[in-house]
């Protein structure tokens, strides 16, 4: 009961904070709208854009520079060490594990998610009642990585084969005639793929929904014309459907890639990076907040940054093309 009262007062405080911020904004709006003449435009621009720009500078731009500077310093953040932290990342024994794993993650998980999402989108296009399936496949998007980790923990749980099984995967392999299933999460290097399956489970719904909309947006006359030309089934898919949704496919793929590059929660909750499953994002967290080596943690963050950069540059180029068409 006490907890309930306590909790409600927390929510009350949160709502009050929202009300206060909105009230301040309204007052600023009121004052700024009294400006007359030529000052009107600039003042409005400042009021509307100012808060966002300020937050972005404090929250993303300056931290990015500070992290880059921090990556050139030692663990305490007091002495300049040049590129030593980067040297450590790429040469220290054992670090190849998280580098290789991260590369595997950003290739395998996005490609499989997109491929499966595309398959589902095509199949759904041929179904009459699609909405229930769509909702259920899309549902994992609403579940946290931590929750997903617990859900999949029940799938990968290991018990001695002589005992009754608790993990679904072990039980299924035993039903299929394997007497001695491996301890899945310790089963190197395949445990990496088992973790990727969780990410794929989450992302397929996203790929499916977006690609399904793209397929439905292909004009009917294009499909009909291709059919008159004798293109059906596989041929139609390769020659007509794929080229028509190419742009969307690329967007889906790159979006999942960015998400995967920063992946942290799944590895942290499932194996905490042990048993050969470490990735850059979780190593960064471990270095910064467990080992308190700010220099190495920052250098790892910069590596992530450099990894995402080409993807974002590509997206900006695409976006500029689209906007110039409009």
């Amino acid at each position: 009961m006490e907890e309930l009262v306590n909790g409600l007062s927390k929510i009350g405080n949160a709502v009050a904070a929202v009300a206060i911020v909105l009230a301040i904004l309204l007052i600023v709006f009121f004052l700024a709208s009294r400006a007359k003449g030529r000052a009107q435009g600039p003042i409005a621009g400042l009021v509307f854009l100012g808060p966002a720009v300020l937050l972005l500078i404090y929250g993303l731009v300056v931290p990015a520079f500070r992290t880059t500077a921090g990556s050139l310093q030692d663990a305490s953040g007091k002495n300049f060490v040049g590129l030593a932290n980067y040297g450590w990342i790429f040469t220290a024994p054992g670090n190849s594990t998280f580098l290789i794993n991260t590369v595997l993650w950003i290739i395998i998980a996005p490609v499989l998610s997109t491929a499966l999402g595309l398959t589902l989108a095509l199949l759904l296009d041929r179904m009459k009642r699609e909405s229930i399936s769509k909702s259920l496949i899309f549902m994992p998007m609403a579940i946290s990585f931590v929750g997903a980790g617990i859900i999949w923990g029940l799938v990968y749980e290991y018990r001695d084969p002589s005992q009754p099984q608790v993990g679904l995967l072990s039980q299924i392999t035993m039903w299929l005639g394997v007497d001695d299933p491996p301890n899945w999460l310790l089963w190197q290097p395949f445990n990496n793929f088992l973790l990727m399956i969780i990410m794929i489970w989450i992302q397929v719904g996203f790929a499916m929904v977006v690609l399904s909309a793209a397929i439905k947006a292909i004009p009917a006359d294009v499909i009909e014309a291709s059919e008159l030309d004798g293109a059906t089934g596989w041929k139609q898919f390769i020659k007509v459907t794929i080229p028509m949704i190419r742009g969307t496919l690329v967007v889906v793929l790159t979006t999942i890639m960015i998400a995967v590059l920063k992946i942290f929660d799944i590895v942290r909750t499932m194996t905490n990076g042990n048993f050969g499953t470490q990735v850059v994002a979780n190593e960064m967290y471990a270095q910064s907040f467990v080992a308190f080596d700010v220099g190495r943690g920052s250098a790892l963050a910069v590596v992530l940054f450099i990894g995402v950069t080409p993807i974002i540059i590509y997206n900006v180029i695409q976006l500029r093309k689209e906007r110039s068409v409009r």
Partner: protein, 326 residues
């Protein structure tokens, strides 16, 4: 959530609901496609079903037999839930305070991000000034900064303040002689951090929507002498409800399911930490107590699932807002 910020994709709005004629669709629909989709749907749903079933089984059964045996030996109990909610003999602290924390973190973070992003999107779309295109692209490109890169500097800013040489750019919030920041033990750093990290994608998506509102409407209002502030409140906000709603759902899910920002700025205390931090913690410490962990996980995902299923239509529309080149 499993949903990362950039997962909403820029696609153009007003996509046709159904381009392929109904007759063609019926001709294409095949029982084979339906079968494959149903198989995948079942596969996608089973892990979550396992979580739900395990969470209602008594301790002995949950720990020593697979959840699928529930269907031959159905013993159900709600005591796992009551124990996890209030804390019990196994796990001393219950999930309840964390649950309220999650609500108190997610609601303001969502509102702040939306309001500030809407204002910025309006300024970039409808207040003409030099450099607005450059600012727009710069904001979009800020997605390149991984959260991981911004966390440490931001934490330092909240704890020690920032100064550029002698010029203070963020106040040192420590009271003289105290090692604790004024922000410590409050939700404020979490609200600010989540708002900052959501802005690039939020501004981008809302700009796509707001920028497509009819030009004549804005011009007519300007001619009538309406200020930008009046236009924003009376025209832009009401007309943008669909885009705002979809992004609100998205941002709410994102904040609710976040673990990284929470661990960094809130630690694991019941004062401010959200359910994800609690879950990650009990999974690490009481990993064998499957009946309790699954109950906790279900409590944590029930709110996102309700939000997701009840508002799914908006959510999907948000994913597609401005997308799918027809």
């Amino acid at each position: 959530m499993s949903v990362e910020a950039h997962e909403i994709i820029p696609l153009p709005s007003n996509l046709p609901e159904e381009t392929i004629p109904e007759a063609a669709r019926r001709r294409l629909s095949s029982p084979w496609a339906s079968f494959v989709v149903i198989v995948i749907t079942v596969l996608w749903t089973i892990p979550t079903l396992g979580l739900l079933v395990t969470s209602i089984r008594p301790k002995e059964q949950a720990q020593n037999s697979g959840w699928w045996t529930f269907f031959t030996d159905p013993t159900a109990t709600l005591s796992n839930y009551s124990e996890v909610l209030t804390g019990g003999s196994v796990i001393p602290g219950g999930i309840t305070p964390y649950f309220f924390n999650s609500i108190a973190i997610a609601i303001p973070a969502t509102v702040f991000a939306l309001v500030i992003a809407c204002m910025a999107a309006y300024a970039l779309a409808w207040i003409p000034f030099k450099g607005s295109t450059i600012i727009f692209f710069a904001i979009f490109a800020l997605q390149v900064v991984p959260l991981q890169m911004a966390l440490l500097p931001l934490l330092q800013m909240f704890n020690k303040g920032w100064s550029l040489g002698p010029i203070p750019i963020f106040p040192d919030l420590n009271k003289a002689g105290s090692a604790q920041s004024l922000f410590a033990g409050t939700y404020i750093p979490l609200w600010i951090a989540h708002t900052m990290f959501a802005l690039p994608i939020a501004i981008f998506l809302l700009h796509n929507f707001i920028g497509q509102l009819p030009r004549e409407l804005m011009e007519a209002a300007r001619v009538d002498g309406a200020s930008h502030f009046l236009i924003f409140r009376k025209l832009i906000l009401p007309l943008s409800i669909p885009a705002i709603a979809s992004f609100a759902i998205f941002e709410f899910l994102w904040v609710w399911n976040d673990l990284l920002v929470a661990l960094t700025f809130a630690g694991g205390t019941p004062d401010v930490a959200p359910v994800t931090a609690y879950l990650a913690n009990i999974k690490g410490t009481y990993g064998a107590q499957l009946h309790l962990i699954t109950a906790g996980a279900f409590i944590a995902i029930v709110i996102p699932l309700i939000v997701f299923f009840s508002l799914q239509r908006f959510f999907v529309r948000g994913l597609l807002a401005g997308s799918v080149k027809g």
